[in-house]
Symmetry: C2
Amino acid sequence: MTDRRPSLDAVQLGVYFALMEVAGLLRHAVEQQLREAGDLSYVQFQLLARLGLDSPTGSERMTDLADGVVYSRSGLTYQAGLLEKAGLVTRTPSADDERGVTVTITDAGRALLAEVLPGHVEVVSRQLFQPLTRADTEALADLLSPVRDHMRSSPPRSAAPRRRR
Amino acid sequence: MTDRRPSLDAVQLGVYFALMEVAGLLRHAVEQQLREAGDLSYVQFQLLARLGLDSPTGSERMTDLADGVVYSRSGLTYQAGLLEKAGLVTRTPSADDERGVTVTITDAGRALLAEVLPGHVEVVSRQLFQPLTRADTEALADLLSPVRDHMRSSPPRSAAPRRRR
DNA sequence: GACGTGTGCTTCGAACTCGAAGCACTGGAT
DNA sequence: ATCCAGTGCTTCGAGTTCGAAGCACACGTC
């Protein structure tokens, strides 16, 4: 019988730390650029990108958005409020489910997104992909995908068990 | 002449998003475990781990710590204060440089670190490495290392230009 | 050895973040 | 039809985060 107690060897620890450090540094670099280019926080950019680029309709429900960007629901309410105040998105009650709120990107939102995107891409390109060959990038994609899928299968934040009353 | 304007293709975009999502989800999972096991935030754990595991002496200067965990200096002052109040680290003026502050992990800090580490490792192991083979892990290590080194070479946070007076 | 720029850390205020609790609607069971 | 547990979102309070400004020391030049 093998050791049930999982442990991490040096390589694994290295990967873990490197992953977190890379993500942290990248996020930082990106955050700075976004702040300068469009006065957006990273989260706000993520929300706009998700609505403007990933979603065919430009709309999504709050919870899906929150899970998509790995963010707390209450935090999303706050950020969505800011974006709405800035006229970049609109919030409307969902058609089918009266509880739900649908967030939709506005034309102004799309315009701002288009404005900051080149610089954003530039930073990511330089920081993340410069040291990687084409083949490296593809290898990385193949390695990260299963991990992401695996992690997603864990119950998402929104499914956090509620306190028993 | 190739296009000077960097752009990201679908694969690169996927890698970028996957990377950030994986890091975010992993951080979350780990954060929960740490909170339950030892009432530590992720940052606090990182600080203790860096002092207790990476540093031979168990000490490091504030700025190095801040850069190491990708964190603002002022934030580090705050967290170091909390850790000190909890008796997990000590802060003493540096011997050679009167401006510097050396942070050192205490025995209590080491004890707590040892206590939460197994659970931490367990979470990382399950969330991050379960879908990866041994070879995958090594490949990932080889891919992330150059990226991390590349990013580190950019001026660190602490070197942020100060406002001209 | 006095000056002045640079660096290390802290303080400060404002903004952000989170989970818990609360409110509103849904959908299945009775 | 009524209940009630489940879900979607917001509100709330407490804690955290950041950059800018401030203070103290270091190290170069003169």
